[in-house]
Symmetry: C2
Subunit: 157 residues, 2 copies
DNA sequence: GTGTTCAGATTGATGTATCAACCCGGCCAC
DNA sequence: GTGGCCGGGTTGATACATCAATCTGAACAC
């Protein structure tokens, strides 16, 4: 084989990051699932809906906010509607229906968010402290920028 | 609503991290899928198998290395076997079968790994530079440790 | 040997993610 | 109006993740 023996310092640090991301993500996800009976996907959609005053917005707006594919969102909304977390509402232009947060969905997200934030602080924010957190976030922002540039290059081929 | 307006500095930094993790992960995943026709799960299993001299190891060993549930691994191996990437082999103790990398799987992973590493360097390692990378990795390690401690506390209830 | 037990492996059911194909209502040309 | 276009939305098929239930064969007691 060969190559896997030649992992340098940098590659081991990459693996540390991957490990951290995997564990942190699954921990938060499991907490949401067990305590609030919400998947990460449910949580994301519900959070976006609370960002509207009327607990209701066009499907396209949710899609833009979450950056999900339209089909993924459609399937997700179907399942969430079946569980009574949201409901589909016809708007003026019947091509572009709205989604509304039900009372049940509202209750669920209002229970979930504070717990989630608390856990994020305990496991991430407070662990790093303000200074290292800022450095960490800056690093993330830089990687994001590099990603955007890379994508631009790919599209302009 | 209320709470979502009160997002502090720290929470916005957390969101930056989430965004970065999401985009970086899906970018790497899509590259693997498009260029090598491998899912992230395929990639992980294949990498573990190359870590054995004989391209073959007990299922349980793969499970330990990936930290996957046995059932997830079993399903994954079934699908990979159907595509000819691996094959199941009976070992001495027929309770604990082995998995072997086929030639096709070997070819696939040997194409994928260098491309993957190159992309990780371009999008992550080189973007941060050695110094910030080290700090970043240290931060990840600290978060991992906090996670472990947290889990310990949960189990000892 | 026969029966019990046990750990690891498999299977089935359900929820989720992604791609391709299709639907459908407003829009424009004519 | 009638017909074709267009873009967002939905649906279907397949792959993946997770949980619960089941299977399997070695090991141990007797």
């Amino acid at each position: 084989m060969g190559w896997e023996q030649e992992l340098g310092e940098a590659d081991r640090m990459w693996r540390t990051y991957i490990e951290m991301a995997k564990h942190l993500g699954s921990h938060l996800q499991q907490h949401l699932q067990r305590e609030c009976n919400l998947s990460a996907a449910d949580f994301e959609v519900l959070v976006r809906l609370t960002e509207s005053e009327r607990r209701e917005m066009p499907v396209a707006e949710v899609a833009a906010a979450t950056q999900w594919e339209k089909s993924r969102l459609s399937h997700q909304l179907t399942r969430m509607a079946q569980r009574g977390l949201v409901e589909r509402v016809d708007s003026n232009d019947r091509r572009y229906p709205d989604v509304r947060l039900t009372d049940k969905g509202y209750a669920a997200i209002n229970k979930a968010v504070p717990e989630h934030i608390e856990m994020v602080h305990a496991l991430f924010v407070d662990v790093l402290g303000p200074e290292r957190l800022a450095g960490f976030a800056q690093a993330c922002a830089d990687v994001l920028r590099a990603l955007d540039e890379h994508r631009e290059r790919d599209c302009s081929l």
